[in-house]
């Protein structure tokens, strides 16, 4: 599904909070770390300190790229905001958190932060802050869905955001334009470009008032939508607009380069596919390649080379096309740009086969096939990751709706009661006692009803949560449970049977001394022995008892022992902060991960040594597996990758981060980080 946004995808415009909110004495443009630190240290006003902390966090994350320091600062700011009930600050912190995780593709955490704002919003006293933050949250949530190819839901969020902005801040032209633009992009990707154009046109009355960057983004979106509605002539006009904009608008150095790259690329494609003027296309693509090199963008350099190659391909000029495509292919492989590799490999196969070189054509075809599988696997695991986040998000959304519903109900009840009291006051003289009685009985009924209601709600919530836990765990644990069951059956059932047979035979041998020289008996005796050892070995591989009884550390140690006993490679284990056991399913997963990695090393790495290292510090668990083997090319599609994919999906299940680096003839280091949510 995520294939479709690959082409015609540029930016998802997200609201970055800082610039829009803070208008105090601090100037966001010239952040000076020292002056911020001074404010944090010396200011008498907590709000000023919070603002400064926020700016500092932003600076640390975006400019210093020191994530952990930034998150720490952010955390501090949030705690201080909560202490002072400084609502600006709380919203700001959550938005920044959401944006941060969004930029790291950590969908669950990002959506969590955004949803916290939605949940918090009814408490926000200043209405403009409330509406503005909701508008941003919905737009940004939409961005996450759009990025993951779910345009339907993305559109839903954007429309929510639009409702707020149109109703409450129609004068905020830039914000309105951003949302219209995002909606247009959703519609285009939902293959309804006419609707997309409708939304783009909504900015017509105030288009002149927009900032330069937005105007450029609009031209781009117009271009894509016109192309999709087969209005190529109008689309061509948009290219002219972009060119004009480049000459006239006030753009930053980077933006200028970025947009001229975009323009050359689009113009090239336009000439190639619509005007069929190949020489003009070549000129544009050449310009794009030069600009890409200047911007040091590997994706665009590869794209540029490919585009030039494909023009030659169109002209049937194979000797020219092949070297360009080959350079493009190498570049895509070097930078692990798999989607591009696939496209280029297909092009190369076409060029070689047209040129009569069937051997090379076949080679590239099989490369393309392999890449396709690999991309499919990658996308699947990405999709799985997102689906999980989406599932959690929907769950939380439902909870929020439930909460608001019960709040309104409560409010209604209060209003009702007040009216009753007023009425009672007017007619007090005569009916006081009767009314009093009536009131009491109603109240009691209400209390009972309310209690029942809240009890039921709690039950429902509990059930929902239980179901959620069960469905997730069964997904993760299903396989392991099955293995444990089979291992136990083998161990206890078949294993016990074999042991008993051997015991009987051993007794028989003792009683009938003549059997000791009977060859047939001796053979059978040995076979039974082998069989019982084999059953035990299989059961052990499926589920080592030591893992269940004594935990992960001892189980990994045992794994090392048996590898070391084989003398092919020596493995050592180090552990820090692992005194406490993890929960059983996490241990099982981690064991499988390490087992798989060691298997890979033995099979492929030709290493003489390997180290396994566990570091746990509070909730953070880091696992390192390093070998001194021959290493491999990360972009290479060797058998090794297959093993790694299953490791990666296990790491994903544990919500972990997987990183691998490998150097030829020096070795490979794999680092996995997990967040452990238990005591």
């Amino acid at each position: 599904m995520s294939q479709c946004f690959k082409s015609g995808y540029r930016y998802i415009i997200v609201f970055f909070s800082i610039i829009l909110f803070i208008s105090s004495a601090l100037n966001a443009q010239n952040v000076n770390e020292d002056s911020l630190l001074a404010i944090i240290k010396e200011s008498k006003f907590d709000t000023a300190r919070i603002d400064a902390l926020l700016l500092l966090a932003n600076y640390q994350i975006k400019h210093k790229r020191d994530d952990s320091a930034g998150m720490k600062t952010l955390f501090e700011a949030k705690a201080l905001s909560q202490k002072n009930n400084y609502q600006h600050g709380i919203v700001q912190c959550l938005l920044t958190t959401g944006n941060y995780f969004r930029s790291r593709n950590d969908w669950t955490k990002s959506m969590d932060a955004y949803n916290e704002i939605v949940r918090f919003s009814p408490q926000i006293k200043v209405d403009s802050l409330k509406q503005k933050s909701l508008m941003m949250v919905y737009n940004n949530l939409g961005g996450i869905y759009n990025f993951n190819g779910d345009f339907q839901n993305s559109l839903g969020y954007r429309l929510k955001s639009l409702e707020i902005v149109e109703k409450l801040m129609p004068e905020n032209f830039n914000n309105r334009a951003i949302i219209y633009l995002n909606i247009a992009s959703d519609y285009r990707q939902l293959k309804i470009p006419l609707k997309g154009l409708d939304y783009l046109n909504k900015t017509a009355p105030f288009f002149d008032k927009l900032n330069s960057r937005l105007k450029m983004e609009y031209y781009y979106e117009y271009y894509e939508n016109y192309i999709k509605t087969d209005s190529s002539k109008t689309a061509g006009e948009m290219l002219g607009k972009i060119k004009e904009g480049l000459a006239q608008f006030d753009l930053s150095e980077f933006q200028r380069k970025d947009y001229s790259l975009m323009l050359s690329k689009l113009s090239g494609l336009y000439q190639l596919t619509i005007e069929k003027d190949y020489d003009a296309a070549l000129q544009h693509f050449d310009a794009a390649l030069t600009m890409a090199k200047e911007l040091e963008s590997n994706t665009d350099i590869t794209e540029g080379l490919y585009n030039i190659g494909s023009v030659y391909l169109k002209q049937k000029n194979y000797p020219q096309a092949i070297p360009y495509l080959q350079t493009a292919y190498d570049s895509s492989v070097n930078h692990s740009l798999k989607n591009q590799s696939l496209k280029i490999a297909t092009g190369l196969a076409e060029a070689f086969s047209a040129n009569g070189n069937t051997v090379s054509a076949n080679q590239y075809l099989s490369k393309a096939l392999a890449l396709q599988n690999e991309i499919y696997d990658d996308e699947k695991s990405k999709e799985l990751n997102f689906l999980e986040a989406k599932y959690q998000n929907e769950k939380k959304e439902k909870e929020i709706v439930d909460l608001t519903l019960s709040n309104t109900e409560q409010q209604l009840a209060v209003v009702k009661r007040n009216r009753l009291l007023l009425f009672g006051g007017i007619c007090a003289t005569a009916l006081l006692i009767i009314l009093g009685l009536l009131y009491r009985s109603i109240r009691q009924k209400n209390i009972i009803a309310e209690k029942e209601k809240s009890l039921k709600e709690e039950q429902i919530k509990f059930l929902e949560r239980q179901q959620q836990v069960v469905s997730l765990q069964s997904m993760v644990n299903g396989q392991e449970t099955e293995r444990t069951r089979i291992a136990k059956d083998l161990h206890d059932g078949l294993g016990g049977l074999f042991s008993t047979i051997k015991m009987q035979l051993s007794t028989l041998k003792h009683e009938e001394k003549s059997l000791e020289t009977n060859e047939l008996f001796q053979k059978s005796y040995e076979l039974v022995d082998n069989a019982s050892v084999e059953v035990r070995r299989i059961a052990h591989n499926m589920m080592p008892e030591v893992l269940i009884k004594l935990g992960l550390m001892q189980a990994i140690q045992e794994l090392c022992n048996s590898i070391n006993a084989g003398k092919l490679m020596s493995v050592s284990m180090q552990s820090y902060g692992m005194e406490q056991r993890l929960n059983a399913s996490t241990e099982m997963m981690l064991f499988r991960i390490v087992q798989e990695l060691l298997n890979n090393i033995i099979k492929h790495a030709y290493a003489s040594e390997a180290i396994i290292q566990f570091n746990r510090d509070g909730q953070r668990l880091s696992v390192t597996v390093e070998d001194n083997g021959r290493g491999f090319n990360l972009a290479d599609n060797s058998g090794k990758k297959a093993g790694l994919e299953s490791v990666k999906s296990r790491v994903n299940f544990l919500n972990g981060k997987f990183s691998i680096d490998s150097e030829k003839e020096i070795g490979t280091t794999i680092l996995m980080d997990f967040l452990i949510n238990e005591g």
Binding site: R65, D66, D67, S68, H491, D492, G495, G496, L497, F498, S499, T500, K502, M503, Q504, S506, T507, H510, E511, D529, S532, V533, R536, H540, P544, E545, V546, K549, L550, A555, Q557, E558, C560, N561, N564, A565, S570, V571, S572, M573, Q574, Y576, G577, E609, I611, Q613, N615, D617, R620, S622, T624, E626, N628, K657, S659, D661, I666, T669, L671, D673
Partner: protein, 210 residues
């Protein structure tokens, strides 16, 4: 006569053992229990000289049961009788008061030998169990002697930190993400038990890791 109690949930195993012991008149099986709780009840008023204990029982974990028996009974010799041959389990069993460890696919002679050895106050390990313990010893010993405290990557990062590079610079140099470098750095700090990069470098120099 030496009295023997068998604790095993598999009925066939009990039968197999009694067949094996047939003809050895100095040995007598005085009871067979299928669960840990059954065994604890049995042991409240009887103290057999030998207890053959399976460590995978349906109710109580065998290692735990060994500790529980040993708490009130220092007389009986407890021999683990299992099909699990793992060093961790063997050492745990012995440290919880077990006297011997046998694997279920034993020979008749091995069982008799085990009973005689533990009765004379020795610890008995079957050949295969002995082998496992030895493997663990060698493996740990080799690791202690030959493996350095730091991984190759950690050494590289430590060296670059020492040269004054920061996280992002190291990331650029090694073609890794800042996040990965940060993880390695945190691991380094935990391993050397320090709280800051300064201390890390200082300790590393003291320990001659640089």
């Amino acid at each position: 006569m030496i009295s023997i109690l068998i604790i095993d949930d598999h009925p066939l195993v009990g039968n197999g053992i009694s067949t094996m012991l047939k003809g050895e008149d100095y040995l007598g099986i005085i009871g067979m229990c299928k669960t840990g709780n059954e065994a604890l009840t049995f042991l409240t008023d009887t103290q057999p000289e030998i207890i053959l204990l399976d460590i995978s029982l349906p109710d109580i974990d065998g290692l735990e049961l060994c500790s529980m028996i040993r708490k009130n009974n220092s007389f009986s010799k407890i021999i683990g009788l299992t099909s699990t041959n793992e060093a961790g389990i063997i050492t745990q069993f012995l440290s919880r008061g077990g006297n011997g460890y046998l694997l279920k696919n034993m020979e008749r002679a091995e069982l008799l030998n085990a009973i005689n050895e533990v009765m004379s106050g020795k610890i008995f390990l079957s050949t295969a169990a002995n082998q496992k313990i030895l493997e663990q010893y060698n493996s740990v010993n080799h690791a202690l002697k030959n493996t350095s405290v730091l991984t190759r990557r950690e050494k590289e990062i430590l060296q670059l930190l020492y040269e004054g590079l920061n996280g992002p610079q190291i990331a650029g140099r090694l073609f890794l993400s800042t996040y990965t470098i940060e993880s390695h750095r945190k691991n380094l700090m935990q391993k050397l038990n320090v709280n800051s990069t300064q201390q890390l470098l200082k300790t590393a120099r003291e320990k001659k890791l640089l």
